[in-house]
Protein backbone atom coordinates (compact mmCIF):
# COMPACT_ATOMS: atom_id res chain seq x y z
CA UNK A 1 0.00 0.00 0.00
CA UNK A 2 1.41 3.44 -0.85
CA UNK A 3 2.79 5.37 2.09
CA UNK A 4 0.51 8.46 1.89
CA UNK A 5 -2.62 6.35 2.28
CA UNK A 6 -1.81 5.22 5.83
CA UNK A 7 -2.46 8.56 7.55
CA UNK A 8 -5.65 8.96 5.55
CA UNK A 9 -6.80 5.51 6.59
CA UNK A 10 -5.94 6.20 10.21
CA UNK A 11 -7.80 9.47 10.07
CA UNK A 12 -10.88 7.66 8.81
CA UNK A 13 -10.48 5.03 11.54
CA UNK A 14 -10.36 7.77 14.15
CA UNK A 15 -13.43 9.43 12.69
CA UNK A 16 -15.26 6.12 12.84
CA UNK A 17 -14.35 5.74 16.51
CA UNK A 18 -15.76 9.21 17.16
CA UNK A 19 -18.98 8.63 15.27
CA UNK A 20 -22.31 7.35 16.54
CA UNK A 21 -22.03 4.16 14.51
CA UNK A 22 -19.29 1.80 13.34
CA UNK A 23 -19.48 3.42 9.89
CA UNK A 24 -19.05 6.86 8.43
CA UNK A 25 -21.57 8.37 6.06
CA UNK A 26 -19.03 7.99 3.24
CA UNK A 27 -18.85 4.25 3.83
CA UNK A 28 -22.39 3.68 2.61
CA UNK A 29 -21.49 4.75 -0.94
CA UNK A 30 -19.68 1.56 -2.01
CA UNK A 31 -22.35 -0.55 -0.32
CA UNK A 32 -25.22 1.10 -2.17
CA UNK A 33 -23.34 1.21 -5.46
CA UNK A 34 -22.33 -2.44 -5.40
CA UNK A 35 -25.76 -3.60 -4.30
CA UNK A 36 -27.42 -1.55 -7.01
CA UNK A 37 -25.00 -3.06 -9.49
CA UNK A 38 -26.07 -6.49 -8.32
CA UNK A 39 -29.76 -5.65 -8.84
CA UNK A 40 -29.05 -4.26 -12.31
CA UNK A 41 -27.03 -7.37 -13.13
CA UNK A 42 -29.86 -9.66 -12.06
CA UNK A 43 -32.49 -7.83 -14.08
CA UNK A 44 -30.27 -7.44 -17.14
CA UNK A 45 -29.14 -11.07 -16.93
CA UNK A 46 -32.69 -12.36 -16.72
CA UNK A 47 -33.88 -10.19 -19.61
CA UNK A 48 -30.83 -11.03 -21.70
CA UNK A 49 -31.07 -14.76 -21.11
CA UNK A 50 -34.79 -14.71 -21.81
CA UNK A 51 -34.34 -12.89 -25.08
CA UNK A 52 -32.44 -15.70 -26.77
CA UNK A 53 -32.66 -19.47 -27.09
CA UNK A 54 -28.97 -19.91 -27.88
CA UNK A 55 -27.48 -21.61 -24.80
CA UNK A 56 -24.02 -20.16 -25.42
CA UNK A 57 -25.42 -16.64 -25.30
CA UNK A 58 -27.55 -17.50 -22.31
CA UNK A 59 -24.50 -18.76 -20.44
CA UNK A 60 -22.75 -15.51 -21.25
CA UNK A 61 -25.63 -13.59 -19.69
CA UNK A 62 -25.61 -15.89 -16.68
CA UNK A 63 -21.87 -15.41 -16.22
CA UNK A 64 -22.32 -11.64 -16.33
CA UNK A 65 -25.05 -11.94 -13.72
CA UNK A 66 -22.83 -14.00 -11.45
CA UNK A 67 -20.02 -11.47 -11.79
CA UNK A 68 -22.36 -8.61 -10.89
CA UNK A 69 -23.62 -10.57 -7.90
CA UNK A 70 -20.05 -11.17 -6.77
CA UNK A 71 -19.35 -7.45 -6.96
CA UNK A 72 -22.40 -6.86 -4.78
CA UNK A 73 -21.15 -9.46 -2.32
CA UNK A 74 -17.76 -7.76 -2.26
CA UNK A 75 -19.34 -4.39 -1.44
CA UNK A 76 -21.41 -5.95 1.34
CA UNK A 77 -18.36 -7.75 2.72
CA UNK A 78 -16.41 -4.49 2.70
CA UNK A 79 -19.18 -2.79 4.66
CA UNK A 80 -19.28 -5.57 7.23
CA UNK A 81 -15.50 -5.62 7.47
CA UNK A 82 -15.35 -1.91 8.16
CA UNK A 83 -17.98 -2.24 10.85
CA UNK A 84 -16.28 -5.21 12.43
CA UNK A 85 -12.96 -3.41 12.45
CA UNK A 86 -14.46 -0.33 14.10
CA UNK A 87 -16.24 -2.35 16.77
CA UNK A 88 -13.06 -4.29 17.52
CA UNK A 89 -11.00 -1.10 17.87
CA UNK A 90 -13.64 0.45 20.10
CA UNK A 91 -13.87 -2.67 22.23
CA UNK A 92 -10.09 -2.75 22.63
CA UNK A 93 -10.19 0.83 23.93
CA UNK A 94 -12.93 -0.01 26.42
CA UNK A 95 -11.05 -3.07 27.63
CA UNK A 96 -7.90 -0.98 27.99
CA UNK A 97 -9.81 1.43 30.17
CA UNK A 98 -11.31 -1.36 32.23
CA UNK A 99 -7.83 -2.73 32.79
CA UNK A 100 -6.61 0.71 33.78
CA UNK A 101 -4.23 1.08 30.84
CA UNK A 102 -3.43 4.54 29.59
CA UNK A 103 -5.89 5.72 26.94
CA UNK A 104 -5.60 9.03 25.05
CA UNK A 105 -7.81 11.66 26.62
CA UNK A 106 -9.60 12.53 23.41
CA UNK A 107 -10.42 8.88 22.84
CA UNK A 108 -11.50 8.33 26.42
CA UNK A 109 -14.33 10.84 26.21
CA UNK A 110 -17.30 10.13 23.97
CA UNK A 111 -19.74 12.56 22.35
CA UNK A 112 -22.83 13.56 24.28
CA UNK A 113 -25.58 10.91 24.48
CA UNK A 114 -27.96 10.79 21.56
CA UNK A 115 -31.73 10.79 21.96
CA UNK A 116 -32.95 7.26 21.37
CA UNK A 117 -36.26 5.93 22.51
CA UNK A 118 -34.87 2.52 23.32
CA UNK A 119 -32.00 3.76 25.48
CA UNK A 120 -31.81 4.84 29.08
CA UNK A 121 -30.91 8.50 29.26
CA UNK A 122 -27.51 9.11 30.76
CA UNK A 123 -25.97 12.41 31.83
CA UNK A 124 -23.54 14.12 29.49
CA UNK A 125 -19.86 13.43 30.07
CA UNK A 126 -17.98 15.90 32.21
CA UNK A 127 -15.62 16.72 29.37
CA UNK A 128 -17.43 16.93 26.03
CA UNK A 129 -15.45 15.54 23.17
CA UNK A 130 -13.78 17.76 20.63
CA UNK A 131 -13.79 15.88 17.37
CA UNK A 132 -10.89 17.92 16.03
CA UNK A 133 -8.66 16.38 18.67
CA UNK A 134 -9.57 12.82 17.89
CA UNK A 135 -7.55 12.05 14.78
CA UNK A 136 -4.27 13.36 16.22
CA UNK A 137 -4.80 11.59 19.50
CA UNK A 138 -5.68 8.38 17.75
CA UNK A 139 -2.64 8.66 15.51
CA UNK A 140 -0.38 9.10 18.51
CA UNK A 141 -2.11 6.19 20.21
CA UNK A 142 -1.49 3.98 17.19
CA UNK A 143 2.10 5.20 16.89
CA UNK A 144 2.73 4.36 20.53
CA UNK A 145 1.23 0.91 20.02
CA UNK A 146 3.35 0.26 16.95
CA UNK A 147 6.54 1.37 18.65
CA UNK A 148 6.04 -1.13 21.45
Amino acid sequence: MPEPSRPVRRDRDARRLASEAPWLRDDIGPLVASTALGVVGLVAGYLGASSTVDPSRQFAWMTATVVMTMIAALGNALWLGLGRRSVRARRDLVIARLRGDAVPVALAARPAPVERASRVELPSPATPRTDALVPEAFLSYLAAEESE
Binding site: S19, A73, L80, R90, L98, R116
Partner: protein, 117 residues
Amino acid sequence: MDWMRSLSTGWARFVAALLVAGGLLALVLGFVGASGTAYVAEQIPYVISGAITALFLLGVAATLYLSADMQEEWWKLDDIERRLEESSGATDGTSSDDTAEIRRDTFPSLESATVDA
Protein backbone atom coordinates in the same frame (compact mmCIF):
# COMPACT_ATOMS: atom_id res chain seq x y z
CA MET B 1 -26.40 10.46 12.36
CA ASP B 2 -30.09 9.82 12.04
CA TRP B 3 -29.66 7.86 8.85
CA MET B 4 -27.42 5.38 10.63
CA ARG B 5 -29.58 5.13 13.73
CA SER B 6 -32.62 4.36 11.64
CA LEU B 7 -30.63 1.75 9.75
CA SER B 8 -29.62 -0.11 12.77
CA THR B 9 -31.98 -2.26 14.72
CA GLY B 10 -35.62 -3.16 14.50
CA TRP B 11 -36.56 -2.30 10.98
CA ALA B 12 -33.24 -3.54 9.63
CA ARG B 13 -33.96 -6.97 11.04
CA PHE B 14 -37.52 -6.80 9.74
CA VAL B 15 -36.31 -5.99 6.24
CA ALA B 16 -33.72 -8.75 6.56
CA ALA B 17 -36.47 -11.23 7.43
CA LEU B 18 -38.48 -10.07 4.42
CA LEU B 19 -35.46 -10.50 2.18
CA VAL B 20 -34.87 -14.01 3.51
CA ALA B 21 -38.51 -14.87 2.80
CA GLY B 22 -38.20 -13.36 -0.67
CA GLY B 23 -35.02 -15.33 -1.31
CA LEU B 24 -36.63 -18.60 -0.29
CA LEU B 25 -39.65 -17.81 -2.43
CA ALA B 26 -37.41 -17.07 -5.42
CA LEU B 27 -35.61 -20.35 -4.83
CA VAL B 28 -38.83 -22.35 -4.77
CA LEU B 29 -40.30 -20.59 -7.80
CA GLY B 30 -37.04 -21.03 -9.70
CA PHE B 31 -36.99 -24.72 -8.90
CA VAL B 32 -40.62 -25.18 -9.91
CA GLY B 33 -40.08 -23.25 -13.13
CA ALA B 34 -36.87 -25.02 -14.10
CA SER B 35 -38.24 -28.45 -13.34
CA GLY B 36 -41.31 -27.73 -15.41
CA THR B 37 -39.46 -27.75 -18.71
CA ALA B 38 -36.99 -30.07 -20.39
CA TYR B 39 -35.34 -27.37 -22.50
CA VAL B 40 -32.11 -25.87 -21.22
CA ALA B 41 -32.85 -22.60 -23.00
CA GLU B 42 -35.97 -22.25 -20.88
CA GLN B 43 -34.28 -23.36 -17.68
CA ILE B 44 -31.44 -20.86 -17.64
CA PRO B 45 -33.65 -17.79 -17.08
CA TYR B 46 -35.15 -19.63 -14.11
CA VAL B 47 -31.66 -20.21 -12.73
CA ILE B 48 -30.98 -16.46 -12.91
CA SER B 49 -34.33 -15.33 -11.53
CA GLY B 50 -34.42 -18.11 -8.97
CA ALA B 51 -31.13 -19.36 -7.64
CA ILE B 52 -28.89 -16.35 -8.23
CA THR B 53 -31.57 -13.91 -7.08
CA ALA B 54 -32.08 -15.98 -3.93
CA LEU B 55 -28.36 -15.90 -3.18
CA PHE B 56 -28.30 -12.15 -3.71
CA LEU B 57 -31.29 -11.53 -1.42
CA LEU B 58 -29.91 -13.80 1.31
CA GLY B 59 -26.57 -11.98 1.14
CA VAL B 60 -28.19 -8.56 1.51
CA ALA B 61 -30.32 -9.90 4.37
CA ALA B 62 -27.20 -11.14 6.15
CA THR B 63 -25.57 -7.74 5.72
CA LEU B 64 -28.58 -5.98 7.23
CA TYR B 65 -28.81 -8.38 10.14
CA LEU B 66 -25.11 -8.26 10.99
CA SER B 67 -25.09 -4.46 10.62
CA ALA B 68 -27.86 -4.20 13.21
CA ASP B 69 -25.88 -6.48 15.53
CA MET B 70 -22.76 -4.34 15.20
CA GLN B 71 -24.73 -1.15 15.75
CA GLU B 72 -26.16 -2.54 18.98
CA GLU B 73 -22.71 -3.62 20.12
CA TRP B 74 -21.52 -0.09 19.40
CA TRP B 75 -24.28 1.35 21.59
CA LYS B 76 -23.41 -1.06 24.39
CA LEU B 77 -19.80 0.08 24.24
CA ASP B 78 -21.10 3.65 24.38
CA ASP B 79 -22.99 2.90 27.57
CA ILE B 80 -20.03 1.13 29.15
CA GLU B 81 -17.75 4.06 28.41
CA ARG B 82 -20.22 6.52 29.85
CA ARG B 83 -20.55 4.51 33.02
CA LEU B 84 -16.78 4.40 33.28
CA GLU B 85 -16.59 8.17 32.85
CA GLU B 86 -19.16 8.69 35.55
CA SER B 87 -17.39 6.43 37.98
CA SER B 88 -13.74 7.23 37.40
CA GLY B 89 -13.54 10.77 36.08
CA ALA B 90 -13.17 9.74 32.46
CA THR B 91 -9.58 10.69 31.79
CA ASP B 92 -7.18 9.68 34.54
CA GLY B 93 -7.18 5.95 33.79
CA THR B 94 -7.41 4.99 37.45
CA SER B 95 -9.68 2.34 38.86
CA SER B 96 -12.26 2.83 41.55
CA ASP B 97 -14.66 0.53 43.35
CA ASP B 98 -17.37 1.51 40.89
CA THR B 99 -15.10 0.79 37.96
CA ALA B 100 -14.29 -2.61 39.39
CA GLU B 101 -17.99 -3.31 39.72
CA ILE B 102 -18.62 -2.32 36.10
CA ARG B 103 -15.69 -4.49 35.08
CA ARG B 104 -17.14 -7.48 36.90
CA ASP B 105 -20.59 -6.90 35.43
CA THR B 106 -19.38 -6.35 31.90
CA PHE B 107 -16.47 -8.70 31.45
CA PRO B 108 -16.60 -11.47 34.06
CA SER B 109 -13.85 -13.36 32.27
CA LEU B 110 -11.64 -10.28 32.19
CA GLU B 111 -11.74 -9.84 35.94
CA SER B 112 -9.51 -12.83 36.61
CA ALA B 113 -7.00 -11.63 34.01
CA THR B 114 -6.82 -8.06 35.31
CA VAL B 115 -3.60 -7.51 37.18
CA ASP B 116 -2.72 -3.86 36.75
CA ALA B 117 -4.63 -0.74 37.72
